[in-house]
C-alpha cells in the first residue's frame, strides 16, 4: 500500500496550543455531540425552576379544568391526567435521573473498587472468595436483581438507588481486579515492596492510579444504563411515587390514557431516550479518546 502524503506535521514538531485537542474533537463528532447534549441536560436540571412555565406542576398542584389537554402554545407538551403541565414536569425530571445515576455510580464504586483492589493486589484465597461472590451477583442481569430487591423494599427513589447500586458494583470489582492484578505483578511494585514502602502507600500511590482509566471510561458509559434501569423500575411502580416528576413514572401513568392522549407517554419517554443517548455518546467518545483498545460488554 502506498502511504498518502500526510498533512500532519512531522513527529516532534509541536502543535500550536489547543490544536491537538481541536483535532481530537474534530475526529470525534459523536463525543462533541454527546458532551454538548449532556451539558445542556445538566443546565436544564439546574435551571428547571427558571425554565419551567409552571413550576408548581412539578409537585402536588392539580388543575381539574386542564385535564389531558393536547400540546398547545401554552402547554408545549400538553397536560396530564390531573391537568399538570408536562413540559414543566419533564424539565424537573432532569433533576432526578442524572442525580440517581451519580449516586448509584458513586455507591457502586465505593463497594466495587476496594473489593477489586483487594482481590487483585492480595490474590490467593481472598481473591477467590471475592470473585466467587462477584460471580454470583453477575449471574443476574442487573435489572432482575434490582427488581427483586426493589420489590422487597418499600418503593421510593432511595430504595431504587440502593437496589441498583447493589447490582452494579460487581462489574467494577471485576474490572479493577484485572487492572490491579496486572499492575501488582510488575517489577516496580516488587521493588517498592523490597524497599519497605508500606502496603497502603503502594496501593494508593501506584495500584489505584494505574487502574483508574478504564474505570472512568466504564463509569461514564454506565450513566445511560443506570438511567434506563431506574426508569424501568419506576415504570414498574418500584421506584419514584406520585407526585415526583420522574420520567419513568410519568410514562407509566400515561399508559392508562395513551390511546387518547399520546403526549402524556411520548414526551417523558423522549426525555429518557435523549438523556441516556447523550451520556452514552459521551462515554463512548471518552473511551475512544482514552482507551481505544478495550471492548465493553454489558
Amino acid at each position: 500500500m502506498i502511504e498518502a502524503p500526510s498533512t500532519l506535521p512531522a513527529a516532534g514538531a509541536r502543535l500550536p496550543r489547543g490544536e491537538t485537542l481541536r483535532r481530537g474533537l474534530a475526529a470525534n463528532p459523536l463525543l462533541v455531540a454527546g458532551g454538548l447534549m449532556s451539558a445542556l441536560i445538566l443546565v436544564v436540571a439546574l435551571l428547571a425552576p427558571l425554565l419551567a412555565p409552571f413550576p408548581a406542576d412539578a409537585g402536588t398542584a392539580t388543575h381539574p379544568f386542564l385535564v389531558l389537554h393536547p400540546p398547545s402554545a401554552q402547554h408545549w407538551f400538553g397536560t396530564d391526567n390531573v391537568g399538570r403541565d408536562i413540559y414543566s414536569r419533564v424539565l424537573y425530571g432532569a433533576r432526578i435521573s442524572p442525580l440517581i445515576a451519580v449516586v448509584v455510580l458513586v455507591l457502586a464504586c465505593a463497594i466495587g473498587v476496594p473489593l477489586g483492589v483487594a482481590a487483585g493486589y492480595f490474590g490467593g484465597w481472598l481473591d477467590e472468595a471475592i470473585m466467587r461472590v462477584t460471580d454470583i451477583f453477575l449471574a443476574f442481569p442487573s435489572l432482575l436483581l434490582a427488581l427483586a430487591l426493589a420489590e422487597v423494599l418499600p418503593p421510593s427513589l432511595i430504595t431504587l438507588t440502593i437496589a441498583i447500586a447493589v447490582t452494579w458494583w460487581p462489574w467494577y470489582t471485576r474490572l479493577i481486579r484485572g487492572q490491579a492484578a496486572s499492575v501488582a505483578g510488575r517489577p516496580y511494585i516488587e521493588s517498592c515492596r523490597a524497599l519497605g514502602i508500606p502496603r497502603r502507600r503502594i496501593i494508593f500511590r501506584h495500584i489505584l492510579p494505574n487502574s483508574i482509566t478504564p474505570l472512568i471510561v466504564q463509569v461514564s458509559l454506565d450513566v445511560g444504563g443506570v438511567i434506563l434501569t431506574a426508569s424501568a423500575l419506576s415504570f414498574l411502580g418500584l421506584g419514584a411515587q406520585e407526585p415526583t416528576p420522574d420520567w419513568g413514572l410519568m410514562v407509566s401513568d400515561g399508559q392508562n390514557y395513551f390511546l387518547t392522549a399520546w403526549w402524556v407517554v411520548t414526551f417523558p419517554g423522549i426525555a429518557i431516550l435523549v438523556t441516556a443517548f447523550a451520556f452514552t455518546l459521551l462515554g463512548d467518545g471518552l473511551r475512544d479518546l482514552l482507551d481505544p483498545k478495550r471492548i465493553f460488554l454489558r
Binding site: A27, P29, L30, A33, R132, V133, D135, I136, F137, A139, F140, P141, L143, L144, L145, L147, A148, L149, E151, V152, P154, G224, L228, S231, A232, F235, L236, L238, G248, V251, Q255, F258, L259, W262, V265, T266, P268, G269, I272, L273, A276, F277, T280, L281, D284, I295, L297, R298
Partner: protein, 338 residues
C-alpha cells in the same frame, strides 16, 4: 478439554447454589404477608394461620432455605400464591413464549447488526460510520417500555397494520385451534399444518420482538464494528487482500470470521439480558410469557412465583454462558489455558 469443562461446570454449579441462596435471602424479607394473600380476601386469623402452616412459612428461615434448596433440586419449586399452581409448571408453560420472543428478537438484531457493523468498519470515520454508531447508541439507550407503547400506538392504533396485543387472533381459537406440542407456537403451528395460526402468531410477534431487539442490535453493531476493525489489519487478512480477494470478501468472509467468537459470547450475555427485558414488554403486548408472569407475580406479592422466575432466568443465564464458554474453548484451544 475434559478438565476445562469439569472446572467450568463446577464453577457454574457453585454460582447456581449462590443464586438460590441470594434469591431466597432477598425474598425472605418481603414485608407483606404472603399467607394473607394466599388465604384470599378478608381471611380470619385462623385461615391465615392455616395458610401459613400450609405454605411452610411458620418454620425458621434456615429450615425454609434448606427445604427450598431440596425442593428446587427435586423439581418442587413451590406453589404460586396467585395461581395456586406449582411454580415450575407455571414457568414451563410461560417459558416457551418468552424464549420464542427473545430468539426471534436476537435474529432480528443479528440481521441488522452484521451488515451495519461491517459497513461501519469498512469506511470508519465517514458519515455512514458516524450515523451507524449514533444509531447503535440510540438502540442501546432506548427505554424499551416506552418504545413498546409508541410502536403499539403507531402501528396498531393509528395505522391498523399490526395487531396490538395477544399471541394470536382470538378468532382462530375456534376455526384453527393451536395444538401444543413443544409449547413454541412458531414450531407447533407449522408442525400441525396450521398455517393461518402461524401467520397470526408471526404478526403478533413482530412488534414485541422488534422492541426487544433494539438493545441487542445496538450492542452487536458496536461489537462487530470494533472486532472487525481490530482484525482487518492482521497479517492474514492483509494476505487475503494481497491474494486479490475483493474487498467485500475480505470483510464479510475473513475479518468477520474472527469476530464471531467474541460476538457469540456477547449474544449469550445479551440473551439473558433480553429475557429480563420481557418483563417490560410482554405485559404491554399481552404476550403470555415469563415477563407477563413476573409482572403479575410482582403485583400480587407472589413470593414463590417471583423467586421461581428470578431463579429460572438466572439459571438460563448461567447455562447459556456455560455452553458458550465450552463451545469457544472447543473452537479456540488457547481459552482452555486461561
Amino acid at each position: 478439554m475434559t478438565v476445562y469443562v469439569a472446572r467450568r461446570v463446577a464453577l457454574a454449579v457453585g454460582v447456581v447454589a449462590g443464586v438460590i441462596v441470594l434469591t431466597f435471602v432477598i425474598a425472605h424479607v418481603v414485608p407483606g404477608d404472603p399467607a394473607a394473600t394466599w388465604a384470599g380476601p378478608h381471611p380470619t386469623a385462623a385461615q391465615v394461620a392455616a395458610a401459613r402452616r400450609y405454605l411452610g412459612l411458620d418454620r425458621p428461615a434456615i429450615v425454609q432455605l434448606l427445604s427450598y434448596f431440596g425442593g428446587i433440586l427435586s423439581g418442587n419449586w413451590g406453589v404460586s400464591i396467585h395461581t395456586h399452581r406449582p411454580v415450575l409448571s407455571d414457568l414451563a408453560a410461560a417459558a416457551p413464549a418468552s424464549l420464542e420472543l427473545v430468539t426471534v428478537a436476537m435474529l432480528i438484531a443479528l440481521v441488522v447488526a452484521v451488515p451495519l457493523g461491517l459497513i461501519s468498519a469498512r469506511w470508519p470515520g465517514r458519515v455512514g460510520d458516524h450515523t451507524i454508531r449514533a444509531g447503535s447508541i440510540l438502540g442501546v439507550s432506548m427505554p424499551i417500555f416506552w418504545m413498546a407503547l409508541i410502536l403499539q400506538l403507531f402501528f396498531s392504533q393509528r395505522l391498523h397494520v399490526l395487531p396490538a396485543a395477544g399471541e394470536y387472533s382470538p378468532g382462530l381459537l375456534f376455526s384453527h385451534p393451536l395444538t401444543r406440542l413443544t409449547g413454541f407456537g412458531l414450531i407447533d403451528a407449522p408442525l400441525t399444518g396450521n398455517w393461518p395460526m402461524f401467520g397470526s402468531i408471526l404478526t403478533h410477534l413482530v412488534l414485541p420482538a422488534v422492541v426487544i431487539a433494539a438493545y441487542p442490535a445496538g450492542l452487536l453493531t458496536r461489537m462487530i464494528r470494533a472486532q472487525v476493525l481490530d482484525t482487518v489489519g492482521d497479517a492474514h487478512v492483509q494476505m487475503v487482500r494481497a491474494l486479490g480477494f475483493p474487498e467485500r470478501a475480505v470483510f464479510a468472509r475473513f475479518a468477520m470470521k474472527l469476530a464471531w467468537n467474541p460476538v457469540a459470547a456477547a449474544i449469550a450475555l445479551v440473551f439473558g439480558y433480553s429475557l429480563v427485558n420481557t418483563f417490560l414488554v410482554e405485559a404491554i403486548f399481552d404476550w403470555p410469557g415469563l415477563g407477563s408472569y413476573a409482572t403479575t407475580a410482582i403485583a400480587n406479592l407472589d413470593r414463590p412465583a417471583i423467586l421461581g422466575v428470578t431463579l429460572f432466568i438466572a439459571l438460563v443465564y448461567v447455562v447459556v454462558n456455560l455452553v458458550v464458554d465450552i463451545i469457544q474453548a472447543a473452537i479456540d484451544p488457547r481459552i482452555r489455558l486461561r
